[in-house]
Symmetry: D3
Subunit: 137 residues, 6 copies
């Protein structure tokens, strides 16, 4: 099994609902350093999991609508806490949808097995979400 990982980041504001969050119920913010990892059983004819330039571009494109935002005001997260875990899942699902639309080319669309998104919120805490890229039909 092969994996390929690229890194980017976003800087956002948000607040959480729920007593468990303590002081994080107030409006605060975070830098999330984001790792996007693709999984694939065999390499393509060029010897790669995916075009790393296209992959970095895809991650940047998916992050753009989140970067420099107050996530409390985004329709996509209405009624949800934008925890590190929720954001990892949301970013992974958006990347997944774009790959299945062909954003990394037809070969990657067919051959990728899964992906994992990790968000580091500090030097001592991070969360990730991993999902398969199995296609039906």
């Amino acid at each position: 099994m092969f994996a390929l990982n690229v890194r980017d980041h976003i800087m956002i504001a948000h607040s959480f609902k729920g007593e468990v969050f303590g002081p994080a119920q107030k409006l605060h913010g975070a830098t999330f350093v984001i790792d996007l990892e693709l999984h694939r059983n065999d390499l393509d004819p060029n010897g790669i999991v995916a075009d790393i330039g296209a992959l970095s571009g895809l991650l940047h494109e998916v992050l753009a609508p989140l970067n420099y935002q107050n996530l409390d005001e985004l329709e996509a997260f209405r009624g949800r806490n934008t925890t590190t875990e929720v954001l990892a899942c949301e970013i992974a699902e958006r990347v997944r949808a774009r790959i299945l639309e062909g954003a990394l080319g037809e070969d990657a669309q067919q051959a990728l097995d899964g992906l994992k998104v990790t968000l580091s919120e500090s030097h001592i805490a991070w969360a990730s979400y991993q999902t398969s890229l199995v296609r039906t039909g």
Copy 2:
């Protein structure tokens, strides 16, 4: 699959028995930077794997009896080498027991799938132990 990771550290003295350890058979020591990662299939209603504050507290509580100790003198390790691997396992099992006792709350107690503990002994070497949190009965 979701994961949540927190980091802490301990500073200990110990020695090893066995020719394979060479100069590490003498009393020496280590800083272990410790990552505790929880695994969970679905998030709780707050959108989290576990309360990150409670998780950091649990890790700190589990590490306290090891920190600033000469591990050669601890009853818990009598007859065993306190290698990075053995310590990763021991810390994981202690965290696992506390979670199953409810230290992270009832929801985490029921829903967590597994955990992984990684101990970095330097910038060029680390070891980890991963275990499931499957409950019987």
Copy 3:
């Protein structure tokens, strides 16, 4: 010349005024990983620059009123952009004042030569402010 450094972090929301900031004029946020470094010509009789436990506690105490805040709402920053540079300076000055009040003990109060505060806003950008601890009179 000796130096001693401890690390902590804060998670804040803020916005900037000024065209130069582009999208960062909107309310967003950041995790700042903060390094506090003390400078001293000679060690104290214990062989240290300062008590590292007291130093970590002092940094945590100085960061507490900033952590989990929307800096736009804090009186202390009224009329100023809370850029990484400005925050580095503000935190350094607050630490400096506490040291001069004796927060690290009398020996440190007399003997420390300077300090530097570095704020990392991401894996690719950081800013710092360095100042002396020269005492008059």
Copy 4:
């Protein structure tokens, strides 16, 4: 499941064939920071996955013929792009072969379950290859 990881690096020149590589079709180079991770279900009687000194030595031995080379000139890679993914696989296979020959001792030869090789090509991109160490017969 236990894992043990050691780190080393190589500095190489190479070029790629294929339009997807853009400017990397020209002769350029890379530092690859290389993590070799062994997987094992149970520890040996000493409480280790493998002798960490022997493991570091094995990784260094496997990397030696690649270090300070122009990979375009090596027979082993004729007709292949020496992408980060391809090199991760090649290094993993060479390590795997040496382990199966007994380079880490008889116990490791029998008991190791798998290995993973990760090559970091920069602070923002890396690739890995994971394989099993299942023996037949």
Copy 5:
């Protein structure tokens, strides 16, 4: 004194002349992770050392003619070893010249005191060059 740092990287091939370089006399390569740090006594009216977006852009612009190159073929380095130290100096001088031409704006052109360029060639080795930005006349 304030400092502001941004990070980028290049991937190059080169070889060295001189017995001291041992195997690095052969054509090999490196990833250089590059930190560009600006020094300034007082902040500008916006509360910054320089526009971080412009600074990142300037670093990227200065690195572009070096990235994905065989440095042995560049006229600029004819007769010189492109060691980590030499490259740190060359990049610093190119950045310095662009700042003095106004690439970071008139305020930065007047007020910056110095700069430092650090090139990390691996996880265990780096070199830097620091220079002033004092203007004459």
Copy 6:
């Protein structure tokens, strides 16, 4: 001003005398990741601060008598606390003495301006000692 840095590490046991050290008065231990940085105004004819291979070798040689030791038993530290600061100074002085004896060659012996040794005791704490290499006579 140029700088060149190499990294190594040691794993030691020790204890401290003095109430300020709290639990660290007990026998415990540490991994110290050690950065040795040389300072020099101008490069040598090869374009380097020093031979990086010789420098890494010198650091390793200086660290060898400390590695895998209980520092409480070493004559060199009798009556002194082997704090991170004291060790940074001791290692720097030993490196300095070896450079002045010619361990890095005659050119480095004449031309180096200073050196700095940093010991990281964890991911959140480190200390350093910087000294000049000015020669008399």
